[in-house]
């Protein structure tokens, strides 16, 4: 099998500078192309000032750079109204924004909040804590044997008093790609909000927010070639307009009186303080890079690598692959090696310059249900190729030999 990289390693300074590195942890964070680094330094070299503040030319340039970035990122995610894209630090802040601002205004005792067993802590803990604070009931939808959301169980759980159904687009721990439209339809039948954690969706799939069916979609820039510290929340305009603000400060106000304050329009109402213009500009460059590759090609490249990795890994004795079949999973494989803890495995793989994630993947409720403490996860992106898979598989086989040879 020879699957070539979709994007040349030479576009990525870190990968170009470390030719031996097999970077298989893109689900945690991706490497950055030169185009993104150039966009960030270019912003500081040419356009840097505080946006929305001064009347001078430079402040206007910064405002323009920030707004242009918002427009192109919204377009990339299929949102026709760019003002409904709120910039945040990333998925975690986006989901906290919703659970806090919308949650405390709309959820009360006797209501129900539904999440799934697949969720990352970022889409689990804020809702669990909202339930604890309001007295609402917190319910977790269990999975099928293959690690997919059980839609029949979900339909039963989402009762008339359910206010929100929060679920991931793609599971970061198992790679499961969830049927977003079906889940949103179940939520909407009960009049509940459908909230989608897109941290592992936006980097790999065409999102198409306008026709996706959900009310809100959260994502992180650094998992899609962009810088850390920038991400966003896209939501329906009426939802954002009806919600109280999340943080108070500069930029988010219209008029501050001695006794009361009115809020600015979208998106500013949810962006208190000096924004992360550098991050937005960098993420816009990342989105441009992905668009040039083509998201369909990004997805088929990852699918080919995942198919190849699952085939090869399943030939290694004592390896157990977790999650759904390769055809229904995103760009990662999660597995265990019998009698070898993932931490030991990843430490030994690191000695061969193979970077994988070992641990609970911020999904302890899922790990408990699977009956494992931790798994090893290899995740792929545009710069990976089949030789990365080959290196991983033979190294895993060698670690197995070493651990079972010990008497």
């Amino acid at each position: 099998m020879n699957i070539k990289p979709l994007a040349p390693r030479s576009d990525f300074p870190l990968l170009a500078g470390d030719p031996k590195l097999r970077y298989l942890d893109s689900a945690a964070t991706t490497q950055k192309p030169q185009a993104v680094l150039d966009a960030i330094s270019g912003y500081y070299e040419r356009d840097n000032a505080n946006p929305h503040r001064g009347a001078y030319t430079l402040s206007a340039a910064a405002t323009e750079a920030y707004q242009t970035a918002r427009d192109s990122i919204a377009r990339f995610l299929g949102a026709s109204d760019p003002d409904t894209l709120i910039f945040t630090r990333g998925t975690t802040e986006s989901l906290n924004l919703l659970a806090t601002a919308w949650g405390h205004a709309n959820v009360k005792k006797g209501d129900r909040i539904v999440v799934t067993r697949l969720e990352h802590h970022a889409n689990f803990v804020p809702w669990q804590q909202l339930a604890l604070a309001t007295g609402a009931e917190f319910r977790i939808c269990e999975l099928t044997a293959e690690g997919e959301i059980d839609l029949a169980k979900l339909s039963e759980l989402v009762t008339k008093n359910t206010k929100v159904v929060a679920f991931g687009h793609v599971s970061n721990a198992l790679g499961t790609v969830n049927p977003v439209a079906d889940i949103a339809a179940i939520a909407h039948r009960a009049g509940a909000l459908a909230v989608c954690d897109g941290a592992q969706g936006a980097p790999h799939l065409t999102v198409g927010f306008d026709s996706l069916g959900v009310d809100a979609y959260a994502f992180s820039g650094h998992k899609m070639l962009g810088p850390m510290g920038i991400g966003g929340l896209i939501a329906k305009r009426d939802l954002l307009e009806s919600m109280p603000p999340y943080q108070m400060g500069g930029d988010m106000i219209a008029l501050v009186g001695d006794a009361a304050t009115t809020w600015n329009v979208l998106p500013h109402k949810f962006e208190a303080g000096t924004p992360n213009v550098e991050g937005a500009v960098g993420l816009a460059a990342a989105v441009g890079y992905l668009q040039a590759l083509g998201m369909d090609r990004v997805h088929s490249h990852e699918s080919a690598l995942v198919r190849y990795a699952t085939e090869r890994l399943s030939t290694v004795e004592d390896v157990t692959l977790l999650g759904p079949p390769a055809a229904r999973r995103g760009g990662l494989v999660s597995f265990t090696l019998r009698d070898v803890h993932p931490h030991d495995l990843s430490q030994l793989l690191d000695a061969e310059s193979i970077a994988v994630r070992a641990g609970h993947h911020c999904a302890q409720p899922l790990m408990r249900a699977l009956g494992v403490n931790a798994t090893t996860r290899a995740s792929f992106y545009v710069y990976n190729d089949s030789s990365d898979v080959d290196a991983l598989v033979s190294a895993v086989a060698r670690v197995r030999e070493r651990f079972t040879a010990a008497v």
Binding site: H341, P342, H343, L348, A358, G359, A374, R398, A406
Partner: protein, 157 residues
């Protein structure tokens, strides 16, 4: 292992560590324990419980159960062997020596077979693994000292 393996890693994964990982000693509960305590590593989810049975000031029996990586499990196993029969003060001193060894602050001359963990000091991320059961043991020692009907361990994380 036929592939490349650095000297540091060879030292980290010595055969005594791999042996105790595969066949941990004192891997059981003690029903009439004087105290027990949990050790949890929230970063990786590894979790051990350590049981202690004291006879006056002496550790008459010590055991552990739970799950974790080879470093944490082997460390727990070798710890139970080292601590059994020691006085409370001797066990505390072993803790300090072991901690010094894995953090690279001392040579651990008094540690005997536990010196196998000297390689940990070159992998700072693994210090928590090597000391997980030790912290639980020390907190069980404290509990046992507080009185016969010790309170259950505080939930962590």
């Amino acid at each position: 292992m036929t592939g490349p393996m650095s000297a540091d890693l060879e030292e980290l994964y010595q055969s005594i560590i791999l042996d105790h990982n595969r066949r941990p000693q004192n891997f059981r509960t003690i029903p009439d324990a004087s105290a027990h305590a949990d050790g949890l590593n929230p970063m990786c989810g590894d979790q051990f419980t350590v049981w202690l049975k004291m006879n006056g000031d002496v550790v008459e029996d010590v055991s552990f159960q739970g799950s974790g990586c080879a470093i944490s499990k082997a460390s727990a196993s070798l710890m139970t062997q080292a601590v059994k029969g020691k006085t409370r003060a001797e066990a505390e001193k072993l803790f300090d020596s072991f901690h010094g060894l894995v953090t690279g602050h001392s040579g651990g001359e008094d540690l005997g077979r536990l010196k196998a963990f000297s390689g940990v000091s070159r992998f700072p991320l693994r210090v928590k693994c090597a000391t997980l059961a030790w912290h639980a043991m020390r907190s069980a020692l404290d509990d046992a000292a507080k009185g016969p009907a010790s309170s259950p361990p505080e939930p962590q994380a």
